[in-house]
Amino acid sequence: MSTTAFLTDSTLCIGCKACEVACKEWNQLGEDGLEWSGNSYDNTMAVGHSTWRHVKFVENPPEIGRGGNAAEQLPAWGFSSDVCKHCEVAGCLEACPTGAIVRMEFGAVFIQPDICNGCSYCVVSCPFGVVEKNEDDGRAFKCTFCSDRQRAGLQPACAKACPTESIKFGQLEDLRREADERLKVLDARGVTDAVIYDPKQSSVKGIHSLFLLRGDPRTYNLPPNPEVPTTYLKKAWQSAAVAAGAMLGVTLLAFLGGKR
C-alpha cells in the first residue's frame, strides 16, 4: 500500500489560515472562541480537539533576507501550518487501550470515534501534544488526514485550500525527495538556514507530516527529540516486578514474624 504524506513548506506559507478554515469546514469542527493571545497574530496557539490545522506565527528580529523592517521595528515573520505528525511509530496508537486508534491503509493514524472511550491516555502519550479530549463530548479527537477524502481519491482539505502550495500532499517518498530538492534550491538562493523536520533518528522513526522550516525547529514548537512512551515500558514493568516481589516478600515475612 502506498503511504501518503504532507510536506508543509514554511518558506511558501503566507499565514492566510485558509488551511485552518478549510479543515474546520470540511471536518465540521466547532469554533474555539476568540481569545487574544498577544503572541503575534496567532490566537489559536496550538492544535487541539477542534483545531486540526494551526498556523504558527514565528517572529524573528528584522534581518536582511528574512524580511521585517529594522527602521520601524517590524519583525520578520515565519509561518508554518502545524498538523498531526502521523508518526511512523505513534505514541497514541501504542497507548490506546480500546484499539480505537488505528493505522489506515495509506499510513495515517486515525481515531475511530465510535470506539474511542475517552480514557485520555493518548493525550499523555503524544510527544507532539496533538491529541486532545473534548471535555463536552468525552472522546479524543485529532487530524484524520482527511481519510474520508483520501478514500474518495481526493487530497486533504487543507492541501486543496492552500493558495501557495505550501501544504503539499503526495507519496511520502516523493515528498521526502521533493523536500531535499527544495532545500538545494533554497540554498542556491542564499537561504542557508532552511531545514527539514523529520525526526527519523528518534523512537518516532519519522513522520508523515514533513516540515520545511527556517532555523531551529524549536522556535516552531517542534521537539528536537520526540520519544514514543513505549520506550519507558521495560524500565517501568521491571520496577513493577520489583515492587510486586518486595510486597509479597514483606507481607510473608510480616505474617511469619507476627505469628508470635
Binding site: W36, V123, G138, G258
Partner: protein, 363 residues
C-alpha cells in the same frame, strides 16, 4: 443641571516640561517636515521573538493530562484494594486471625468494585468501560490495567463471597477451595493493581513522570500497602503485629523514596518541589514516611494504641496526597515548554507580552 463627576483616569499629569516638549516637536515638524524618533516601547517590549532560547512564545508543547479527580482517587483505592488482597492471602495462609482475614477480603472486594465505579465515572458512561475489553494490548499499560482491574474485582469478590459462605455454612471443602483459589488469584492480580499505576503514568511523554519511571511503580505499591494496612487498622484490626510490621516497612520505603526524590534536584523534577503539586507531593511524602514511622516505633515502645491510630490516619492522608500530588505534578510538567523542547538550562519563563499584562490587570 447637576454634573456627574467624571471617573478618575489613569494617566500623566501635564507639566511645564511635557508641554515644552510638545511645542518643540511642533516647531521641529513645521521646520523640517519630519520628526525622527524611536517612539515609545510599549509595556512588555521587546516582545518575545522566536529563538532557541524561548521556544514558541513559551506555549506548552505537550497537552496536560485530562483525567478527572476520580483517576488519582482510583490510584489510591485500587492500590489499597490490591495490597489488601495480598494481606488477606497471607492471613489466610499464615495467621489464625479470622477477623483480619474477613476485613481484608471485604476491603479488597469493596475497593475493586469502587475502582471500577471511579473509572466509569471518569469515562462518562458504563458502556465505555467495555470498550477497554475488546482488545488485549500488552504495550498499553491502560489496557493491561483494565484487564487487571476486571480480573481483580472478580477474584476478590469471589474470595469475599466464599469467606462469607464459609463463616455462615462452615468450612466445606468446596467453599474452602473456592476461597483459597480465588484469594490467591486476587492476591496475584492485587500485586499488579497496586504497582501498575506507576507504570501507567511513568510510560507517558510527561517529563516528570517518565523521568521517575524507575521508582514510580515501587513508590505507588508502597503507598498502596501503607494505606491498606492503615485502613485495616482504622477499621479495628489494630492489635495485629503483622500489620504494624507491614506499616513500618512501607513507611520505611516511603521515607527512602522521599529522600531520593529530594536529592534529584534537576529541573525536570521541579513540579515535585514547587507550587501546589510540590506542596502536595512533599506533604504526602512526610505524612506517609517519617511521621507514621516515628509514631509506629513510639507505639511499639509504649503500647499506646492512640499512637498507632494516628500513624494509620497519617498514612492514609499521605497516600491520598501522594497520588493527587503526582497527577498535579504531571499537569505542571506538561505546562513547562522548556523540557520537551530541550531549551538550554537556565532559560527563564517567557516574558509576558503587553497585552497579556493588560489582561491580567483587568482580571
Amino acid at each position: 443641571m447637576s454634573r456627574v463627576p467624571l471617573p478618575e483616569l489613569p494617566g500623566r499629569i501635564p507639566d511645564t516640561q511635557s508641554e515644552r516638549r510638545l511645542t518643540a516637536l511642533r516647531r521641529e515638524a513645521a521646520r523640517s517636515g519630519v520628526v525622527p524618533g524611536k517612539g515609545v516601547a510599549p509595556q512588555g517590549a521587546p516582545f518575545p521573538h522566536a529563538s532557541p532560547m524561548t521556544g514558541y512564545y513559551g506555549v506548552p508543547l505537550l497537552k496536560e493530562p485530562q483525567w478527572k479527580p476520580e483517576v488519582p482517587l482510583y490510584f489510591f483505592v485500587g492500590g489499597a484494594a490490591g495490597a489488601s488482597a495480598v494481606i488477606a492471602n497471607m492471613a489466610n495462609w499464615l495467621s489464625k486471625d479470622r477477623e483480619l482475614l474477613r476485613g481484608a477480603r471485604w476491603m479488597a472486594a469493596g475497593g475493586g468494585a469502587l475502582s471500577s465505579a471511579l473509572l466509569i465515572k471518569d469515562l462518562g458512561m458504563p458502556s465505555r468501560f467495555l470498550n477497554m475489553l475488546r482488545v488485549f494490548k500488552p504495550q498499553s499499560p491502560m489496557s493491561m490495567g483494565a484487564w487487571t482491574l476486571s480480573a481483580f474485582s472478580s477474584f476478590s469478590a469471589a474470595a469475599a463471597f466464599a469467606n462469607l459462605m464459609r463463616e455462615r455454612l462452615g468450612p466445606f471443602i468446596a467453599i474452602r477451595l473456592m476461597e483459597n483459589v480465588a484469594g490467591a488469584l486476587a492476591a496475584a492480580t492485587g500485586l499488579v493493581m497496586s504497582s501498575y499505576t506507576g507504570v501507567l503514568i511513568g510510560a507517558t511523554v510527561i517529563p516528570v513522570w517518565n523521568e521517575n519511571v524507575g521508582t514510580l511503580p515501587q513508590h505507588f505499591a508502597a503507598s498502596g500497602l501503607n494505606s491498606a494496612v492503615s485502613l485495616l487498622e482504622i477499621l479495628g484490626h489494630d492489635d495485629s503485629r503483622a500489620l504494624n510490621l507491614l506499616g513500618i516497612s512501607a513507611s520505611c520505603y516511603e521515607l527512602a523514596e522521599g529522600v531520593l526524590l529530594e536529592s534529584k534536584r534537576h529541573r525536570i523534577n521541579e513540579p515535585l518541589r514547587k507550587g501546589w503539586s510540590g506542596a502536595m507531593v512533599r506533604a504526602g511524602g512526610v505524612l506517609s514516611g517519617p511521621v507514621p514511622l516515628a509514631l509506629r516505633f513510639a507505639y511499639a515502645i509504649s503500647g499506646n494504641k492512640k499512637l498507632r491510630r494516628a500513624a494509620a490516619w497519617s498514612s492514609v492522608a499521605g497516600s491520598l496526597l501522594t497520588r493527587f500530588g503526582w497527577v498535579q505534578a504531571g499537569r505542571a510538567s506538561a505546562r513547562d515548554h522548556r523540557i520537551p523542547l530541550d531549551l538550554p538550562e537556565g532559560t527563564a519563563e517567557v516574558r509576558k507580552t503587553s497585552h497579556q499584562i493588560a489582561l491580567q490587570k483587568l482580571a
